[in-house]
Symmetry: C3
Subunit: 354 residues, 3 copies
């Protein structure tokens, strides 16, 4: 067990200490779960109650922090509490388990596969003919690589990952458990005999420094490649169709679905459960709200929301409009009465003047 003083942690992340910095802590914990031996962090007013009652020894807070906190609490005040806290979490983290290099005796690697000496192939993995694993690659237990798969140096694949024949994965990628890369795209032509399968002879190219979440599925190209740009981060249970191109440094949150041949620009962010239509083009650094449905193109830098997705201000205004309809109905009713009254008087007055 590692123990550190709050002074040591503050120094590590450039924070100023207010209170007793000599107290020792053994790790990070959320405000509500922390004991006197933990350090925690506060970043959102939503957690004001947890802050008031926390038993933590110290809390990382923002420079502007002014909320009510227990007297015993030592504050570590800094510019970016989230990043500072990440540094602190790292101090207390066991290095993640790295299995020893070598091919586990229960793994089933084809003799023609080229596996670097520093790579690790876990128990009950399969590695197909002609596949190549770079230096420091880790396949945890029960990973399945097809024929002619390339995995770049230092990439890590968790259990039950499936990589179909001929797929390329870059360096320093992390592929979480159960992810499937290279399944056939959903392409069928109608015919008199029912749906005819379109052959999918393309591939998937996952560039360097990509992370892909658990049970996410990425289809191979019909021809050419489905491509995930360098540094892009993809969450769990995401679906990427055939020939989708994702630019560099994009962020795709859980359960997003992107249909075939859509183009996602570099640095774009797609919120959870959003959907993107086939062949749609989402510009660089554009943002798509959670659960939104993108049917057309989205210009670079634009934030879109709703179903169908529209620019943010337009979408919010439109969501607000329905709420105004009952008021309109009532106003219209009143106005009708006033007009009817005017008409009645006109008629009386008309009679009178007749």
């Amino acid at each position: 067990m590692i123990a550190r003083t709050l002074f040591e942690l503050a120094e590590l992340c450039g924070a100023a200490v207010e209170g007793d910095g000599s107290r020792k802590v053994i790790g990070p914990a959320p405000l509500g779960e922390a004991g006197r031996e933990h350090v925690s962090f506060f970043h959102h007013p939503r957690y004001a109650n947890e802050l008031r009652s926390t038993r933590a020894a110290g809390v990382v807070v923002a420079l502007s922090f002014a909320a009510e906190a227990p007297d015993h609490l030592t504050l570590l005040r800094c510019e970016d509490p989230s990043r500072a806290f990440t540094e602190i979490v790292r101090v207390f983290s066991r290095a993640p388990r790295r299995p020893a290099p070598g091919v586990h005796p229960t793994a089933c690697a084809h003799p023609s596969a080229e596996i670097a000496d520093t790579a690790s192939v876990g128990p009950l993995c399969t590695v197909g003919p002609g596949s190549r694993l770079g230096e420091g690659v880790v396949l945890h237990a029960q990973v399945a690589l097809g024929e002619g798969v390339l995995v770049g140096a230092e990439s890590e694949l968790f259990p039950m990952v499936v990589v179909y024949d001929g797929i390329q994965i870059g360096e320093r990628c992390v592929i979480q458990a159960g992810c499937v890369i290279g399944s056939d795209g959903h392409g069928f032509e109608p015919s008199d005999q029912g749906w005819i399968k379109i052959p999918h002879t393309g591939t998937v190219i996952v560039e360097d420094d990509v992370e892909i979440g658990a049970n996410t599925t990425i289809d191979r190209g019909r021809f050419g490649a489905t491509r995930i740009g360098r540094g892009t981060k993809i969450d769990n249970l995401v679906q990427l169709g055939h020939n989708v191109i994702v630019g560099e440094g994009s962020m795709i949150v859980a359960q997003v679905g992107i249909a075939g041949s859509a183009l996602i620009g570099a640095g774009a962010v797609l919120g959870g459960q959003a959907g993107v239509n086939g062949h749609a083009r989402i510009g660089e650094r554009a943002q798509v709200g959670a659960q939104s449905g993108v049917f057309g193109d989205v210009p670079a830098g634009q934030i879109v929301l709703g179903h169908p997705a529209r620019p943010r201000t337009e979408a919010l205004r439109s969501m607000a409009q329905a709420a105004r309809v009952p008021g309109l109905v009532e106003k219209l009713r009143q106005l009708e009465q006033r007009v009817a009254e005017l008409e009645r008087e006109r008629s009386v007055s008309g009679e009178g003047s007749a």
Copy 2:
């Protein structure tokens, strides 16, 4: 093959028999598929046609049942047809397959793992160092447990389940095939060099009597734990983010997505494909409609619907409003004409009086 008379089944579930109770049946079947050797049940007017033409020997119905049914049909009338029928289904069910205790010779269990004598580890499973399996635990084929995993007594894990290092699973849990527990949360900090991964050093705690569906994914905490409360039932393809806390006895239907640090109260029910924003709090026994998007907090006991989710009556009224707009447009047009007429006359009358 077990055969039972309708009298025997009626006694079992406290039903009153109307018709020939001496007929023997060999099992349950839906109304439309049943033959003369089956018992069925009727619980929704939607199936009135199937009822009229069913060939079943007997049908379990509610006390209030008064629909048209074939003359040959024996009725088993009772208070709660669904629960009664569950009892009947159970009579005819083979006990689900329980593999023999012991570790299959093809399984790969680390010598330091502690496996109870009555536990069963199926073919081609992996069990990491220091993991502990309680009495009566069943791992079906090809399950992957990491290092230091705890599985409580009588829990059952189906093929391809992946449990990462250090995760705790309670007693009498059922984890369906392909479920992933303990993958890293989707946490990244922006930087000049692109997204920097936030270490996820927390865990997942699955309490007793939880069921988790096929291919569902549950991320580990950034620190602290993602926690699934006792007796909660989770369907297939659900996503639970890092540090999500689900209370006891909740119900989460298929394809729901819950973002990081959200709090789901005890007894809450989330409909299929619903989404919950990060840090949102859903109160005890609250209900979220299918496909709804929860962005804020939901008070205890409230039923919410829509995107963004609002209280049920408000949401339904709002959905109805758009339909009123065309009527408003027409009314407004008519009123404008009437006002224009008044103005014209006023003008004429004004001229007249001038």
Copy 3:
């Protein structure tokens, strides 16, 4: 490497050649990625830019094609460019890898399983007691079949597919990686002791010529069967609940969720991320838009959209209505002023005439 002249390819798919048909190509590629040794195709105005700058040797186009294209480009003009191009892709495709017949020595097949001589069971698969694999069946690596599973002739199952006990799969089916067939349905009865699991003693019947996508989940029936009709094509990450019946030749796109006992008619098409309520009935050849939520029944042939799903024209009109509300508000404001003016004058005039 296969090389073909454009003449040869044109003859193959019945296209007329405009330009130099003697040029040789070595494969298909998208317009933007193609080099001088590739053939490509153009089917949507959206790709007009890519067409203008493509380096491809030849492009398959429609009879009506009249867009601007580089001078060097040879056109292959035909009636159905997509189908023609599929033919061309096929010419250059390696036949997909078919593992050699036989049971891999690392596979774990129960002695009572009946495996046809021409079937192939890949490395580290498990095949339970009494299962039967027809002629030409392919199980790729690490597939898990339970007890009493039937797989019809020429069906192909990719890695990590899980088939529970007693499930039937027809002939010529393709099941992509990670798909789970036969998990228990999400059925629980409330009780004083919490949720009580309803036993699921039914099965799943997958008829001939069905394709099922990666990580899709299909629950077994509560009793009776969940059934996927002949020739139906299901995409990735789809959820089918217990006792769902899907007719023949339907198309279910990625991330669709269909709740228990729903009925999907033959030839129906469900767009991505759509949801269908339990017990709902979708008619033959009906179409459900992407992200739509079907709560009631849909008549045969109808196209529905939105949440809740309504007939297409109605739904589109309704989506357009909200946009009219701001105009209504303004019109109403103006009308109020005009009426107030009339009232003021009436009052003045009334005073005058008093």
